[in-house]
Subunit: 320 residues, 3 copies
């Protein structure tokens, strides 16, 4: 299991501050800066993804990197080559940074330990999706200010959610508390029995969780969960756990609503909320590009400065 | 149903004249101009395509844009995200222009109405393939001059052909008439019963249709039609509706032969005609890149000039 | 069958010398040179590949070319378009160089004869993989010096190996001899019966083949061969034909070990050998990018100099 709880507040803030500079580049008429010119970023997505893959691709191109896409189908992974050999080959080919999404929890960590290329985890199994955590922290802080003392609700299928884990690991070091809500069948068993991470509580009544909250993040419901018997029906889920107009009013005035996408409108979120005044959902997408630019830049700058590998803090942040 | 019959002659001619300038860029030793530098063109092809997708990709790159490819497989469309949400996400990611091919007629139009990004239809169902219509008009005009008073034969599976519809909507405003031919089972039923669009006639005898014509476009036969019982056999189709050397002699001297590709040689067209002196088939492919450059340029220039969206005419032209 | 045995020593050496210059470009902080700026390289891979496809992509980008990827799935090849028409279309679209991998032996040769674009064979069936042969020659010569009088062992499934054929056609003109080894069921029947190419011998005892050799290349075992009854079991294969630490000691001091990848560690090669001091396997990958840059550069330079097609020697070398 990968320890992402060792990110310090300073490390997270370095990324968030660099992200501000990147957002400024994206606001220019010609959205392009030169720092990764002549460098190669390899996007190795062994699981389907549109928004994360395209977000990294645009981030790398905005920094003038060359980008190469590899998917699992059509790659030598199909020929039975080990994941590690594939990444070592990508490094020998000249890949400076490998961005990797994989269905197996811990896969990017395993690879990063054993090869010289910088590895960024773009989501591994149920484990972590650190760039999502950072972009959510960035988006929240821009919307509601310093997170110290703020309370963020995360609602839904927490047990299968790498987003929830990475959000917690980004918000708590910045001083926020997190209230989880959602069906008990979709929470980590140990957490239900009291072994919750620091700064995190579980409130089984969503209305009560939302009362006076500073923000809410609702998670995508994998509709397959219904077949597994973990939820009674989509309609019932929407009634009990869906974010409706009435429910979001329970939060503080103007407290924002976020979702990692893609949404099931009418299930975990009503269309009116998804596209309403409180919604930061498209802002999350836009900020995601800037956060990924910041990480690519920091990894690459570390590399250039030392002549070897980036500083251990940045690598750890990116790889975990 | 999407109204493409509202393109004016002036709008079409603006595109064709811009295409001439783009063709000049493509004839340079270094085929590249800077107008889309730092802009992002997203190619979202939910249906398989080589020539159209690559044509747009090369067009965008020749104008120095960044290009991101998305196919339906491996995209969040597989996760059940709505088409509209996908395109809104692409826009939030920073996509300036979304080029979209989709199996559902009207899909690009639906999307263009509801999001801020410029959308170019690269073919939707049986409905329209406007860049094909424009490149065919451009190619014809270069070969036989002003289309006013000219008669163009379109032969084959008209009912399932977005190419035929878009050709009609490009040729007729420029003053040409169109004679359709092909099996009655493969023509729009209403058209057979007399409700033909302005400037269009149907002639069930292909030889008679070709007599004295100024040009002919033969459509790809989806060989699956045979299984549906709409044609007796491929051999019979080739005999009755195929373009042979003898048949194309019926047209005016040197009157050209066109095909949108990919061809079934020996079915709708003989190899000797496809690769003969009258054939403009490879010229169509080359001109297609220039037409797409013109559209990307006009959309983007409109955007830059107004600071917001391109002029309604160009958007309409591109989106429909 | 394609005649690759007509490469002269001078032609091969031209590529190897140009590769040295390309390797120097790859060692720069910004790995990029301008010679293919504004030119388009199309990667048309009808068979799955990671390392070769990415190697060509990075090679083309390092020379500032635009790169377009096409795979068989999602391409018009699926619509039944002939291979030749597809490549002619790619040429009409503006592709300057088409890099092509295909399951049918001879396919790239067939295409290169009939269209104007420069075609580079990136592997066709069991026939040839010429850039692999050249990169292996380059890697060997850097490691052990001039190949004249050297003896290289190639072990494994020679009959199904385009790598083995292309290695022979690169090494023998440079003065090396090749000793084949591996199961008799996996050697070309004619070769077993004495009709071996010039400079090549077959030695059924691997230990004897390795005694005093200057280098060894072990081939990937397609593990499907087991089901076809051509080998008894993977364990038995590893015991009799696998490269172990003990076996590689039979060669000259420090004689290197190579493998075209992807490896089956524990089958044709022990992990300790694959990652040991004699292994040049990652160096092969890195050198592959430089060799492909050299070929792209020579093809393109020929094209620019003559105003038409590159010299026949270079085309032949690249296409075969």
């Amino acid at each position: 299991m990968l320890a992402t709880d060792d990110w310090s507040r300073a490390e997270i803030e370095q990324v968030l501050e660099t992200t501000e500079a990147m957002l400024e580049i994206l606001s220019r008429p010609i959205r392009r800066a030169p720092p990764l010119r002549g460098r190669t970023v390899i996007l190795f997505f062994a699981e389907a993804s549109t928004r994360t893959r395209v977000s990294f691709e645009l981030a790398a191109k905005a920094l003038s990197a060359d980008v190469v896409n590899i998917s699992a189908s059509g790659s030598s992974v199909e020929k039975g080559e080990s994941l590690l050999d594939t990444v070592r080959t990508l490094e020998a080919l000249g890949g400076d940074i490998v961005v990797m999404r994989h269905a197996a929890s811990g896969a990017p960590y395993f690879v990063a330990q054993r090869c010289g290329a910088a590895v960024i985890n773009a989501g591994d199994g149920w484990h972590a999706h650190p760039t999502q955590g950072l972009l959510d922290a960035f988006t929240l802080r821009r919307a509601i200010g310093d997170l110290a003392g703020k309370r963020v609700v995360i609602v839904g299928d927490v047990v299968h959610s790498r987003v929830a884990r990475s959000d917690i690991h980004a918000f708590v070091p910045l001083g926020a508390t997190v209230t989880l809500s959602g069906p008990p069948t979709l929470q980590p068993a140990a957490w239900l029995h009291g072994a919750l991470p620091a700064g995190v509580t579980y409130e089984p009544d969503l209305d009560r969780a939302l009362d006076g909250a500073d923000a809410v993040i609702t998670l995508r419901l994998q509709t397959e969960r219904q077949e597994g018997g973990l939820i009674p029906s989509l309609r019932e889920y929407a009634r009990v756990w869906g974010l409706s107009e009435a429910r979001v009013q329970r939060m503080k005035d103007g407290a924002p609503v976020m979702h990692p996408g893609p949404m099931n409108e009418g299930v975990e979120i009503e269309a009116a909320v998804a596209h309403g005044a409180r919604s930061l959902i498209e802002t999350q997408v836009t900020n995601g590009v800037a956060v990924r630019m910041a990480l690519l830049y920091l990894l690459s700058a570390g590399d250039a400065a030392s002549g070897t590998a980036p500083g251990p803090e940045v690598t750890a942040m990116a790889a975990t």
